[in-house]
Assembly symmetry: C2
């Protein structure tokens, strides 16, 4: 399936409008409030951080979904610059006021608007600014506003993240579009509420996904669970799972296809499209990790289970020693094996194998002679892949991360509260 | 108990001699081989990394302890510059040859010498250099060689780590002395073999501990388990548990005290001394973490259990966002709570409290107004302490770490294999 990552993904989906405004939450004066609105009531599914300190907008959205039974949703209000996290009772009131104001300004029924926030933790939301911004955004909704919305939710992101796909469902053509943000505090461990089969993994990352397909809420939840497990929950920049990670998926039904249920013939097609769009967004986040100079793909095979493979891959992908070696283009592969060895995943050292790109470094647990200059050159490419086989079973997983550079330290040490 | 951290700790213990030589394992030509020898057969206990890729010297020492029943030990050969890890069968032969050569040169019985290694992973040990060095070291043993030995095991360490204490046991005075190394790949998760009550935690850290006290092997194992759990397993620099972490404790009995058994009245005194010496060494390692500008103490209280408190403290202590904020002296406390919240330890957000030094930042889950300049000044001190109360139970733990600086990236990215 062809994934279009050009600007404006959200509003390539017919029936969705978006707007972005600068309301003063970002100190640099750039756009910091995005609004996405569906022209008709949409079914919804969402996934939220598993951090114990879930931010007020996360708690608000979770309660909202329970109240509205995942149906009749119309809007997403997303701000950057303030996370409304660790803000106590005031934070909960502010999240609710934001939703109420959006619903009121847009003449929508109560309980039809999601809220999402990203930014500094522990500071009360400047509600006067946010409310003024929301009024302006409601007046600026546009069927071509997607690209601006994707920029408005950026924090330390250098580039917006967007992806969309169109595909046939029966005689209808449906479109799926998404935007995401995330660069630091990235290690999503998202859970789709009340759907225990959903994957887990670790960021503030925010993502809004919209489609004009007609999809049942059960099918939306099932597909989002699979997509999140295979994408956002497989990326890490710093291992720091955020208090605010949120993914919201809205399906308007405007395309007029026969409704997709979990057992429908079209379900696998929809799920596959959602997996691909989310994977594109997730890789865009890892590539734009704070200070990143390279996208790193860590593949683990031969683990006792897929879960153990994922665990091992995440430990390698968060190892400061591995990430700095990659920044330095140093093929110090012992750091990769040491990280796997501390992951808690079962390993058969004598059956372990390791590759850097196509260069095999270790076979049967024994170090191989390899071309050091070729290995260094491989590490200097914009995308670096390590593949490790643990020699235990058939479990496998792929995790995307980035290297750890001086710039990472600068971004996070010279950021002042 | 007074802990003496001045140079020469190991050889302040009567009956122990030490030597250090440069044999070419370190590229900079500094001393890289240390030898510690006891004048009489000693009882022993040891703790080893839980990394699945245990290095050859770790595997060798574990087998040695089983063969010799933790008795009649005489020597420790420790090298820096090459870890002899992930070196396959050749590595195992090299570890054994090293022990045999030491025993032969010193006229000791077979199975009386430990080996320890730290350095690059995956390179075969340059045995010709090591053997020449070992010959020189055997000729250079001295009752004042402790300080040189402590320097010889350093890798990226900027300073040697030494600690000793003397205390009465009955009418005898006993001395306990230790040296340690460790700066990167520090997150010891040491296990005392066959003593399941022993603590776990995560480095290459190496430590040699020696005493002239007469202590049974059972009492040595019990005391080392407690000491390691409270010290080395409570430090982290980078979260990267090494393949080589090793702590060896030798007790010669030369002091002539009544033998200390687990039930002896003197046992708690011995255990307390060992805990204090190990804690001093562990803090010295954290303070000298790669690129460190500050020692950071993370205290967790009110957790469901001590184990959950330790888990939460370690997650905070390895969070790149927390560590860079401390380097930048930025009181961005939301990063601390976010790290606690992702740790998997139970938390009651509405009952959470947080202090930076003596400055309370959060009470009852609500952010407090605090003096930003005072907080910044507190973060600029050489020792920084955060205390978090999770509001769940009475579990507590303290973990020592350091900040994450530009220098950390330099050390690990510009290190070339």
């Amino acid at each position: 399936m062809e994934i279009d990552t050009s600007p404006g993904a959200i509003t390539r989906v017919p029936g969705f409008r978006a707007a972005a405004v600068a309301c003063g939450l970002k100190q640099n004066g750039q756009a910091d409030l995005a609004l996405v609105v569906c022209d008709c009531p949409a079914n919804a599914a969402a996934a939220f951080t598993s951090n114990a300190f879930r931010a007020a907008p996360v708690l608000y959205d979770q309660e909202l979904l329970a109240r509205c039974h995942c149906a009749n949703l119309r809007a997403i209000v997303a701000n950057a610059g303030n996370a409304n996290a660790c803000t106590g009772e005031q934070g909960m009131r502010d999240a609710g006021r934001t939703a109420r104001l959006a619903e009121s300004l847009l003449n929508l029924p109560r309980d039809s608007a999601f809220v999402m926030s990203t930014g500094i933790i522990g500071h009360p939301m400047p509600m006067a600014k946010l409310e003024a911004g929301l009024r302006a955004a409601c007046g600026g909704l546009s069927p071509t506003g997607g690209a601006d919305a994707a920029r408005a939710i950026m924090t330390t992101d250098l580039v917006p993240k967007e992806a969309s796909a169109s595909f046939p469902v029966g005689r209808a053509t449906v479109t799926l579009g998404g935007m995401a943000k995330g660069s630091g505090m990235i290690a999503p461990n998202l859970v789709v509420p009340a759907h225990p089969g959903a994957g887990r993994g670790h960021a503030t990352m925010l993502s809004a996904l919209v489609t004009d397909a007609d999809v049942s809420t059960d099918a939306l939840h099932a597909a989002l669970g699979r997509a999140v497990a295979a994408s956002f929950n497989c990326i890490t920049v710093d291992g720091d799972t955020s208090t605010n990670d949120t993914v919201v998926l809205l399906a308007s039904g405007g395309a007029g296809n026969t409704r997709i249920n979990v057992g429908s013939g079209a379900y696998p097609v929809f799920e596959a499209a959602l997996v691909e769009v989310c994977t594109s967004l997730a890789r865009q986040i890892a590539r734009d990790g704070e200070g990143a100079t390279r996208l790193v793909e860590m593949v683990i095979q031969g683990a006792a289970s897929d879960a153990e493979a994922l665990q091992a891959a995440k430990v390698v992908a968060t190892s400061p020693l591995v990430k700095t070696a990659i920044f330095g283009a140093d093929p110090n592969w012992g750091r990769v094996l040491a990280a796997i060895g501390r992951s808690g995943s079962a390993v058969n050292p004598a059956q372990t194998a390791l590759w850097l790109g196509d260069i095999q470094l270790v076979a049967g647990g024994e170090p191989l002679h390899f071309d050091l200059e070729a290995a260094r050159a491989t590490l200097k490419q914009p995308e670096v892949r390590f593949t490790a086989r643990l020699g235990v079973g058939s479990g496998q997983a792929t995790v995307w991360t980035c290297d750890l550079s001086y710039k990472y330290v600068e971004i996070n040490a010279e950021y002042h509260t």
